[in-house]
């Protein structure tokens, strides 16, 4: 038996032994900000889509923005939504009035899309956020 080994205990330090005093803040360390936590409330039902066009500029959505779309939410009055329309996806403000649904643009140059039969409209999801970067 190698007595030397078993007799001397190993001291484990979780702060590196530098020349100075150990950081008093080392115990208070937390994980840094996580964008997923901020932007993805329901991770598995959220998809990202890329915006193309100018009809929601007054709502702060611009060409090239990445839209965060949650499929688990049911659209409520005035939500920004992604809907299936004429074989493509379109993003507009969702408005219900009586039996009609209005897909309302936020730009005066565009007109409302009026859906007279509520069931014929398929909503892909509700926009919960926008991601935009400025310096590529």
């Amino acid at each position: 038996m190698d007595n030397k080994k078993t007799d001397s205990p190993t001291i484990i330090m979780d702060t590196p032994i530098a020349c100075g005093f150990p950081s008093p803040a080392a115990d208070s360390r937390e994980n840094s900000l996580d964008f997923n936590e901020l932007l993805l409330k329901h991770k598995s039902s959220t998809y990202c889509l890329k915006a193309s066009g100018r009809s929601l500029e007054n709502a702060g959505i611009f060409d090239g923005d990445i839209l965060i779309v949650d499929k688990s939410l049911s659209p409520k009055q005035n939500d920004l939504v992604v809907a299936e329309y004429q074989g493509g996806f379109t993003a507009k403000r969702f408005k219900i009035q009586g039996d009609h649904i209005y897909l309302h643009p936020e730009n005066d140059e565009f007109d409302d899309i009026i859906i007279s039969e509520r069931d014929s409209l398929s909503i892909f999801g509700v926009i919960t956020g926008v991601v935009r970067t400025y310096r590529k």
Binding site: L49, G87, G88, F89, T90
Partner: protein, 411 residues
């Protein structure tokens, strides 16, 4: 009660998810290398196109009917599958995924199956059907019925079992293969209800203990345990983009697929002791051949060079000059790589060699985990094979996993 959630025409549904223009339109998905049709949307099924048919034989029919055709985009399917599983888990608690597009779960009492299904469909955009019954095998039956229900869900109650099982042909029972079904038919057993009337001894004799488990499940006694389904076999294969008869080319293909199989084993911490190789020519030609042979390895292994060596030795035996359309490599008799029993008569040098091989396998695994499965390759498995792997001409974008591939929404 046990539930089974199964995605409908999963690959085709994934391809349609970000293509509103394909709503209610026929879609098919091709296998690796665009070889044959592996998935069809319900509209494509209605056109009479069959799963498994070689792509080139269907090209005209697809074109004539405006069927949108996709190469298989496994990156997309896996991501969507993960989402469906996550959503299901968040709604029911514990789930037992069974394959890329189906999972069993314990059905909570306070949840309505139709409502559960509606939520999964809304949250993920993927059509699923739900079957609920006393056992997994019965849940499979229930799911089958659910697919035809408007609600997409079906609860098979104990009282209903007799009536429903009478409508299930034996070849449709989960766990009864084609051969067994033919055998049962010869004995005049055509549906599931007739099968469960037979006595245990007869069933064990005709269908082995596995078949007995299936029958017990049909009787309402849970027997099939898939909580942690261990990998039982793994396989890699391809339909070549061009017919091959050259020995060296085939050797390369075999080496490539042996590598794939070994990587799958390493990922699952498994060794295999049996390796089979199968070559096949065009099934629709008269001189169709499909030579196949198995080799038993001295020791269970997942060591790439050893598997390639074994694969090549089989090829040597089965090769005859013919126009081969594809090849397959199987690894069977798997065992956990940690529990390998050493041969009592192995020399120290051999044991040392094996330890080194284990280490190398582990390193390969670590590297491929970080850099992806295609990052490391054995020299024998090279260029021409790679060309084969890349023949995916109608590949859809990776909508959910690559920033540059995001679906477009018009604003």
């Amino acid at each position: 009660m046990i539930g089974l959630c199964d995605c409908n025409s999963f690959y085709a549904t994934c391809e349609k998810l970000f293509r509103p223009d394909l709503k209610n339109k026929p879609v098919v998905v091709l296998s690796n290398n665009d070889g044959c049709i592996v998935a069809l949307s319900k509209e494509a099924k209605a056109l009479g196109i069959k799963r498994g048919a070689p792509y080139y034989s269907q090209k005209d029919v697809l074109e004539k009917n405006n069927v949108t055709t996709f190469s298989s985009n496994y990156t997309l399917y896996q991501d969507i599958s993960d989402r469906v599983m996550e959503v299901l888990k968040s709604l029911v608690g514990t789930i037992m995924p069974y394959s890329i597009d189906e999972a069993f779960f314990m059905m909570p009492k306070n949840i309505d199956p139709a409502e559960l299904r509606r939520k999964i469909v809304q949250y993920t955009g993927i059509e699923v059907s739900i079957g609920i019954a006393r056992t997994k095998t019965l849940a499979k039956v229930a799911n089958h019925i659910g697919k035809k229900e408007k609600s997409g869900a079906y609860v098979l109650t104990e009282e209903d079992e007799e009536r429903m099982l009478k409508k299930v042909p034996v070849q449709d029972i989960w766990g009864i293969g084609y051969k067994r079904a033919v055998l049962l038919n010869q004995y005049g057993i055509n549906n599931a209800y007739q099968l469960i009337q037979k006595n245990d001894i007869w069933i064990k004799k005709q269908l082995t203990i596995m078949g007995y488990a299936t029958v017990s499940e049909l009787r309402g006694i849970p027997m099939v345990n898939i909580d942690n389904p261990p990998l039982k076999s793994t396989c890699s294969g391809i339909t070549f983009s061009h017919v091959r008869s050259n020995y060296e080319e085939l050797e390369e293909a075999i080496a490539c697929h042996c590598t794939n199989v070994a990587n799958k084993l390493i990922e699952n911490n498994m060794n295999c002791q049996m390796l089979s190789i199968n070559l096949f020519t065009n099934r629709f030609l008269q001189d169709y051949i499909a030579p196949c042979a198995v080799i038993k390895l001295d020791e269970p292994t997942n060591y790439i060079p050893l598997l390639i060596k074994a694969g090549k030795s089989i090829l040597k035996k089965i090769y005859t000059d013919a126009n081969y359309k594809g090849c397959r490599v199987w690894a069977t008799e798997l065992s956990p790589s940690s529990s390998r029993q050493l041969d009592l008569f192995m020399s120290d040098i051999e044991i040392d060699k094996m330890t080194k091989q284990d280490k190398l396998s582990k390193i390969v695994n670590d590297i491929t985990k970080i850099y992806g499965r295609k990052s490391l390759n054995v020299a024998a498995a090279n260029k021409k094979v790679k060309n084969d792997l890349m023949s995916r001409k109608m590949l859809s974008p990776c909508y959910t996993t690559k920033w540059k591939d995001l679906p477009i929404v018009f604003v």
